[in-house]
Amino acid sequence: MRRIEALVLLSTLSASVLASASPRPRGVGPEFAKFYKSPDSFTCISQPSIKLSASQVNDDYCDCPDGSDEPGTAACTFLSPLSPPQPLGGQNATPALPGFYCKNKGHIPGYIQQTLVNDGVCDYQVCCDGSDEWSGVGGIKCEDRCKEIGKEWRRIDEIRQKSAMNALKRKEELLKKAADLRVGVQNSIVNLEGEIKIADARAQELKQVYEETERRERGKVVSSKGKGSKVTILAGLAKQRVEELRDALVRAISKRDALKEKVKELEGILATFKEEYNPNFNDEGVKRTVKAWEDYAANRKATEDESTEERDVEEVAKPDTETEGINWAEWETEGEESDVEALYKFEAYLPAPVRNWIQAKRVLIREILIENGILANNGNSATESKAVTNARSAYQNVENDVAVKQTSLNDLKTDLDKDYGPNDIFRALKGTCISKDSGEYEYELCWMDSTSQKSKKGAGNTGMGNFVRFDTMDVDEEVGVDGKGLGQGKRMVMMYENGQHCWNGPNRQTTVVLGCAEHDEIWKIVEQEKCMYRMDVGTPAVCEKETRAKQGSGEGKAKEKDEL
């Protein structure tokens, strides 16, 4: 019955069939025609040892282990590593043919998956001539739509081509802009380096002036101070220091108390939360929070006893009087004979080598202490003279200026070294943003900067990540008739990470996958998992001459092979 139908179909197509030089069996592409030439026999393509009669080709029964005897039916589709293995064949089979060849007269020929042949669905996307449903199962009739589909395709393809050309033009512009920007940066670096050199020299001069002035002034200070007791000076300093520390402590305590209040409030909120949350809302985040709170609460109880510590702190915080703390008056009026002096004298009793060693160590320690800001340098304890101040500020101003310039320079150098993608191209896009309205949200992508979403239901902007690096990714996506879409193969990716933290999960992050397009445009956004977004974005910045050309030419074979 099927064969009769096939004949009918053949006769209707006779014109085209007869016109071609060698009639090929149904579903065979021109590049495989050579295997099907013999009028009375057929040899399985990849297993030439298996010889069949010509009538076994396309008889809807699979004879060849590579499926080559059934180019026009679905009979060999079970020969696939995706099907359950069976002694009949399967798992290890490599199909010899790329699929069912649709001639698509009036459009571009293409290969369709053999599993789609005679399944009752007209797969016009690949087979515009409807030839995939030749047996008409269940009464299906797929009319030839190649004329209209082809026409529409060509119309769009023209636009696409134009757009592709424009895209490449745009890319050139971007590259030029990027190069210009780069030169600008380089120039700035050169300029800055010059300025820094000059300023550095100036700073050196001023530094010398300042140090000279200071040395002079310090001599004065020391001489005017006379023979004051070191202990009383120390006492004065210590008192001052202690008071400073005490003030700091008091401030810290009051700050701490305020924080304690806040912690208490938060603990209250969490305790209520734990009591009142509903476990049936199946909210992992809530569960995690409750668990974390329980652990926290348990730990907190263990380390609660702070009362004695608290009392100590209170004591310390009280001002010193004659009876409490340190009686400073006693120290401030101390005579010449101080303990420190005694200590110095003590040295006299020691043998000379030991004494020298101690002295050396003492000096060393003192230096270390001063350098590390633990001991005050006596010299600075008095008020500074105006001359020194002026000299220092003059020096410091220039020094600061150098530092600022150095920072800018470093920034610029970093920027120059930063990865802006191939040929620096995204330098040209930096600072520009594109956005897309998608369902509940408006999404925004700022090149080299950040991604965000804005809910239409009111809530504010949510950061979906900040640019961290370039990457690549294998994609397998549709390309719309308008040419929008990632297509198949390796695509450049911009990773945006560490966005706003998600209530139920990680920090938001966005994987921005780039495809070639005439204009910068967000094609689609999907939240693949909670707070992990993927943005498919078109931009001329990633256009390549070859890829465009390939996609544009519509070479069916290459394209369809990918799909199989």
Binding site: S80, S83, P85, G138, N280, F281, N282, G505
Partner: protein
């Protein structure tokens, strides 16, 4: 080749990693026990357990129930009379009318009511407006037939007892003892089932609450201590108080199965198929099996805790005998099980000893209403049960293929994207699902306008490849101004009421909600209207429905459900009907999907989470919110098998595990297991990573695709098994005892099973890192590995290799398996593809098989539009014979199916003599034969190529 050592260390590492990951993603995953009652916290359960302890403890315990012999009357297969319950020392009694019916089918039914309540001669507390009777309408929901009384049963009475002879050829006998009341059911003169053997019958009669000063003024035999009485009246749990306006009213009965060691059934519990003892002791449970439909969050395995659905039907099995009881009660129910060994000769312990299984059934309210089935085969029992409660719906054929679900596919574009990717990866699937997020603000019958702007476009897109969409619709209706459906619900007063008779308000997904009361016929009618295509905008004929949360789940209710003193249609208390509630909602949706457009009548497909006896008529069920762990993968089969035994075989578990992220090997094994679930759906929680099969990468995606394609290739066999279940209740996947009722070694096996009557014996891997499994063979028949024809034979355990890519699946000799080998995008697109018949020759060189085919979506099969054939291979001839009954649409259907052929016949275990044979005779013509000899331990096989025979016609192939 990796060494075993290296492997094991690798697995250890993996395990450590896995457990670390588990800690990360699912912290403290365990059920909240404190949210659900133990027997001790459930007043009536506690009282009846205490009653049982008293009865067991007291010497000379005499049950206070006796039949008044003068009350008895026998008429036409029915015995009626009165049981007198003595309630105090003064000998005061309460009258309990009893009816014992003997049915034409051979089943018997014992029904006991309480006269006072029946007549409404009681007072309700708290000015309750609830009904006074014991709930007597479970029957109207659960039972659809089989109640014809026996015309052949006969009674013979004496002073102490009456004996009824009934059943097929009069082989059954019921001996009813008057004092104390008891019944013994016998088959072939041997006792199979005993009622009230332990004297635990208890029907808590109505009593007024006496607020007494002096505590000793109590009633006779029940003589409650003060603390016992504390559970009679208002009862509190978890901050909610049950007003119990009718006071204590439980019913309980002990049912003993003498000589029966195994009992099965009473789903739904996450435990072994062969039920455990429940009164403590090593390896036993401490609590009874509980039946109280509940949304149990993160349920645990190996537990008698209640789950989402229930079927109070139990089978008891011993060598060559199966019997059953069906406890027709919809209130909260607990079942205690103890097993007692009775060694006849104390010196020969174990040998010749037999075990009695003693059960104790306890329900909070309602009638005592029990059916008894005397077998003797498991098939007899399931058939008899199905005659009463109905058989499994013959499902839409797409619904037994693969379902791709997730909470949630976020947008219509997302749905189409998944659809395209499945096609692109050549992974077959039939249905994609939408969980609650598709709605506009959790209002059912609406679509989120931003995320699903074009549902019709989405449905049309799916329809191109014959794919379907299932959308969730739950019984809670968002209480929100301006939502027309809730406004209508309130206006028409079709929602469940609270104890005061006002519309009940609780919390669920949408926040504040009301619950449609599907006990109310008007509510069903209203519900049906909501599904018409012109009412439910954005729906088309390829949209089907998922009913979740119908226990009902109420987030702020006691035990996550409704207060028991809520009131349903005609003021029945929720207490009385709780276990039925889910089924009534499922039923309403089923009714709604029958005819969404005038004249377009289709088989509905509705998945439910809550269920009761009878739900099998309405669609599929799944085992609820399981977890991505090996334990949960393993518990799936015992649960599904038990559901099947209990008459509800269209069952499955969420593939991949609902909560948590499965490792790739777990996910892969789960697909291999899921390919053998009657209901096969992948599903995942909203917080999990995406896990559609194409995402896993190789080799996992390829292995999962193979499992899926195996399911699709075997769909003709599965559909035939579904058909069988739909006509006689035989489970779709069948446990060992069901197929080999005489093989004691197989009775407790619940991790391997047969697929329908195909002889396919599967034992999917459910443990981590397995490289092989031990499969049990119950007979001396020959078995072949499904994939390479490796031979296995001889009783006992056989080790078969099971690396990750392999599913342990054997074909038992003697069967013929129908398949369709051509992979397509969906089952709908396989409709016209030719069949492959696999003839698996048995030891005796013969094989038989069956095939049922119809259009898979309409009810035309009821008018004969189907193909039903047996295939038989014997003496070198394979013949196809029609076993269908001709109807008015038969010819038309056969004509349409004429082009569907058998493309090849594979003969496994082909005789050696065929070597050199090149052709076989097909009718008057011939076809080529190709023979492949034995290779090692792999069987010889032959294939008949292109015999040019139609599947719907008679034909013969002569070898």
């Amino acid at each position: 080749m990796r060494s075993y050592l290296a492997l094991s260390s690798q697995w250890t590492a993996l395990f450590v990693l896995l457990s670390a990951l588990c800690c990360l993603f699912t912290p403290a995953v365990t059920v909240k026990h404190e949210n659900f009652k133990t027997c001790d916290q459930s007043g009536f359960c506690k009282r009846n357990r205490a009653y049982a302890d008293t009865a067991a403890g007291a010497s000379g315990w005499s049950a206070p129930y006796q039949i008044a012999p003068e009350s008895l009357s026998w008429d036409n297969g029915q015995l009626q009379g009165t049981i007198l319950k003595t309630i105090n020392k003064n000998g005061e009694t309460v009258r309990l009318p009893i009816t014992i019916s003997f049915l034409e089918s051979g089943s018997a039914r014992v029904t006991v009511d309480e006269e006072k309540r029946q007549k409404g001669e009681i007072d309700l507390r708290h000015n309750s407006i609830a009904r006074k009777e014991r709930y007597n309408e479970v029957e109207s929901w659960a039972i659809v037939g089989g109640l014809e009384l026996s015309k052949t049963a006969t009674e013979s009475r004496d002073t102490t007892k009456t004996t009824i002879t009934y059943g097929p050829e009069g082989k059954f006998e019921a001996v009813i003892t008057f004092a104390p009341f008891g019944v013994e059911f016998k088959r072939d003169a041997a006792t199979q089932i005993k009622f009230n053997d332990r004297g635990l019958l208890n029907m808590e009669h109505w009593r007024p609450k006496i607020d007494k000063a002096e505590p000793e003024k109590k009633e006779g035999e029940e003589a409650p201590a003060a603390d016992e009485e504390s559970t009679w009246w208002d009862e509190s749990f978890g901050g909610a108080t049950d007003s119990k306006p009718r006071g204590p009213e439980s019913v309980a009965l002990d049912i003993t199965f003498p000589g029966y060691e195994h009992v099965f059934g009473i789903p739904e519990h996450a435990g072994p198929m062969s039920l455990k003892e429940t009164r403590g002791g090593s390896g036993n449970y401490e609590d009874p099996y509980r039946l109280y439909n509940s949304d149990v969050f993160e349920y645990i395995t190996d537990s008698p805790m209640t789950l989402y659905g229930n079927i109070p039907f139990m089978q008891a099995h011993r060598k060559d005998s199966t019997v059953g009881v069906f406890w027709l009660n919809a209130a909260e129910t607990w079942i205690d099980i103890v097993k007692q060994k009775e060694a006849h000769n104390p010196l020969s312990l174990g040998i010749g000893s037999k075990t009695d299984t003693k059960t104790h059934w306890i329900s909070e309210s309602g009638l005592l209403d029990v059916f008894v089935f005397l077998g003797p085969t498991p098939k007899d029992v399931t058939k008899a049960y199905g005659e009463l409660t109905g058989y499994t719906q013959l499902p839409q054929s797409f619904s037994i293929a693969y379902h791709q679900c997730r909470w949630n596919y976020n947008t219509d574009e997302d749905v189409k994207d998944v659809d395209r990717k499945m096609s692109k990866h050549q992974i077959p699937y039939d249905v994609i699902w939408l969980d609650i997020e598709y709605t506009d603000d959790k209002q059912y019958f609406t679509w989120d306008p931003l995320q699903f702007p074009d549902p019709i476009g989405m449905l049309n897109h799916l329809d191109k490849s014959e794919r379907k969409l299932v959308a969730i619709i739950d019984p809670h209706i968002k209480n929100k101004d301006g939502y027309p459906i809730v406004e209508d619900l309130k206006k028409k007063d079709l929602a469940v009421h609270n104890k005061d008779g006002n519309i009940y308000e609780g919390w669920c997904w949408p926040g504040s909600s009301h619950w449609v009361d599907c006990f109310n016929p008007a509510a069903i009618k209203w519900w049906v209207g909501l599904f018409k295509y012109d009412a439910f905008k954005g729906s088309l004929s390829n949209l089907f429905v998922w009913n979740d949360m119908n226990e009902p789940s109420v987030f702020n209710g006691p035990e996550t459900t409704m207060p028991k003193d809520n009131l349903h249609y005609e003021n029945w208390e929720h207490r009385d009907v709780h276990n039925l509630n889910g089924m009534t909602f499922h039923n309403a949706t089923y009714q709604a999907l029958l005819e969404r457009k005038k004249g377009e009548i289709r088989r509905p497909f509705v998945l439910t989470r809550a269920f009761y006896s009878g739900s099998q008529r309405l669609g599929a069920m799944w085992t609820g919110d399981n977890q991505a762990s090996w334990e949960h993968l393993a518990i799936g089969f015992p649960m599904i098998l038990n559901n099947g035994i209990a008459g509800y075989p269209f069952a499955g578990a969420d593939v991949g595990g609902f909560f948590g992220n499965p490792e790739k090997d777990l996910l892969t094994r789960w697909y291999q297991a899921g390919a053998f679930y009657p209901f096969f759906r992948g599903h995942a929680h909203i917080d999990t990573r995406r896990r559609e099969p194409y995402l896993a990468g190789e080799p996992y995606t390829e292995i999962m695709t193979r499992a899926l394609r195996l399911r699709y290739a075997l769909l003709p066999a599965w559909y035939t098994a579904f058909h069988e279940a739909s006509v006689d209740g035989t489970p779709i996947i069948r446990p060992q005892y069901f197929v080999y009722p005489g093989d004691e070694d197989g009775f407790a096996i619940d991790d391997q099973f047969f697929v329908g009557g195909t002889g396919l014996l599967a034992k999917p891997v459910v443990t981590e890192g397995a490289e092989s499994v031990d499969i049990y063979l119950a007979d001396d028949e020959i078995y072949y590995d499904y994939f390479d024809y490796e031979k296995y034979s001889g009783r006992g355990l056989k080790t078969i290799p099971a690396p990750l890519e392999k599913i342990p699946l054997l074909m038992q000799g003697g069967h013929i398996i129908p398949r369709k080998d051509r992979p397509r995008r969906s089952s709908g697109l396989m409709k016209w593809d030719p069949y492959t018949l696999v003839i698996v020759l048995g030891n005796d060189g013969t094989a038989t098989g069956e095939l049922y085919v119809d259009d898979g979506e309409t009810f035309d099969y009821q008018s004969g539009a189907y193909i039903h054939r047996t295939f038989e291979y014997k003496d070198g001839v394979l013949a196809s014979t029609n076993i269908g009954t001709k109807g008015k649409l038969t010819d038309k259907y056969l004509k349409a199916m004429k082009s569907v052929t058998v493309e090849r016949v594979v003969v496994v275990g082909a005789p050696k003599g065929w070597e050199g044979k090149k052709t076989v005779k097909v009718g008057s013509g011939e076809a080529n034969l190709e023979f492949h000899g034995e290779e090692g331990n792999k069987a010889a096989w032959a294939v008949v190529k292109k015999p040019q025979i139609s599947i719907g016609e008679d034909w013969k192939i002569e070898f």
